[in-house]
Symmetry: D2
Subunit: 149 residues, 4 copies
């Protein structure tokens, strides 16, 4: 049922822009809609969870930072849906990062495990709110420093 046309482009895409983190996940059936494909909103869940896991890997917790008054919130997203994920699919969620002014800009792409086909491509811009006001977070900067040369 999944389409199996060879897809050279994804392989290319997988190499650039450089990814700094990846995690493997599986589609949960309740995430699929009547079309039998993952509902488009769930991709935002997948990439949010990936960002939080990446953050944990640097030693920071999104929820603990929230308790300290530091919130990273999404300002903009740019999404491309390429090949739909389906029930029982496994996938790899990959992430790259740069900083532009106050904004952290993540490129977050999702590949189907097995054939490495590109399913979803996105750019996500986050800004920090410190006690509710737009600002720069030293915590985030320190955590991300090794990846922002």
């Amino acid at each position: 049922m999944n389409d199996t046309t060879p897809s050279p482009a994804p392989r290319e895409g997988r190499k650039k822009p450089p990814y700094i983190y990846e995690t493997r996940m599986e589609v949960r059936d309740y995430e699929c809609d009547i079309q039998g494909i993952v509902n488009n909103a769930n991709y935002l869940h997948y990439i949010e969870h990936t960002r939080h896991l990446f953050l944990l890997s640097t030693g920071l917790s999104f929820s603990k930072l929230h308790e300290q008054g530091v919130d990273a919130v999404v300002a903009r997203m740019n999404l491309q849906y390429k090949t739909p994920l389906r029930c029982d699919d496994e996938f790899i969620s990959r992430l790259g990062l740069k900083k532009e002014g106050l904004r952290y800009v993540f490129n977050q792409d999702i590949y189907r495990a097995g054939d490495e086909r590109l399913c979803f491509k996105s750019t996500v811009e986050l800004v920090c709110l410190i006690n509710g006001k737009l600002g720069n977070s030293d915590d985030y900067d320190r955590a991300f420093a090794p990846y922002l040369k």
Copy 2:
């Protein structure tokens, strides 16, 4: 596609136990899964939202109470799935209430609009946490007093 067998029982169920609040809602397509029916977890969303609307109708806000350290949390639920809701369905969510010790016990039933067929039947027991500790909330008691004779 919806089944249209006459259903005398629901009509009975609609009368007792007495309901004190109801609200009309519509199925959103993303709530349906590959079976074309509302995923079972979404019924908990429907009845939670109904409780919060009922609370708002008494002048209290669940989220504002949370900010004051008062949280009503679900301790137990008993759920019966009778007739599945489907895409494009509208439904009526009805609620009754009694108090047993520290627990607020809601009976919450969902009927398909149009034919009043019983879709979902539940009992939901909530307890209050005051600053994280099991307790009795005067706010909730006052709000619910007219319904708890």
Copy 3:
């Protein structure tokens, strides 16, 4: 807690680009995360539901079309998060539409009810799959004709 700064810009935004459909909805508490604001993925639910209601208003059902082998799927989205919606907020979801080649391009914006503040701004590009193959749907074209001059 909601910010109440006057916001002249949204009023402007409300006028152009022209909207052809709107619906009023309310935030459900479970859609808010630990930050007390609506999680970013839920905006995709809001605008999807708005598109499906708009479609119903033209006499077509997204789910019935699916049964006939006609699926409109999201190809691209461009999202801007302006002012977060919070628990107990009501909002108005507005929609405009144009066609570019095979693509239906919706502009979908969300305004907080009461002060008409712009919360969310998006462009959503859909393509039609006819029995799984990219194509042009006469059903959709007919339904949208009055809005595509």
Copy 4:
């Protein structure tokens, strides 16, 4: 923040009734609500996903069975919320199974990883619909036979 009181009871619970399958999962931040705890509906997602993984482990796919006209649907659930899961928590979802008449009765419990504290306890009754009619599924019976002596 998590409560850390010793909890001998869960350990007992873990032994009986006998579990036949378990899987490890992690809380995703978007599953937590303003109370900072996992929203009660998400536990139904956790246990549904666990049942589907268990099914996959027997060689059957819930979604593939659906395409063949065989649907297992939830008829009843009995839920007890014991200790709330929070952001960053990992947990183990365990499952036992028996058959009563046409019904498959799963006992599905969730334990916090690390301290094995019982978080959630449930009984879930499923029935099979064969092309929309209540029936007995040979596929399910064969898959579950090793566990139903």
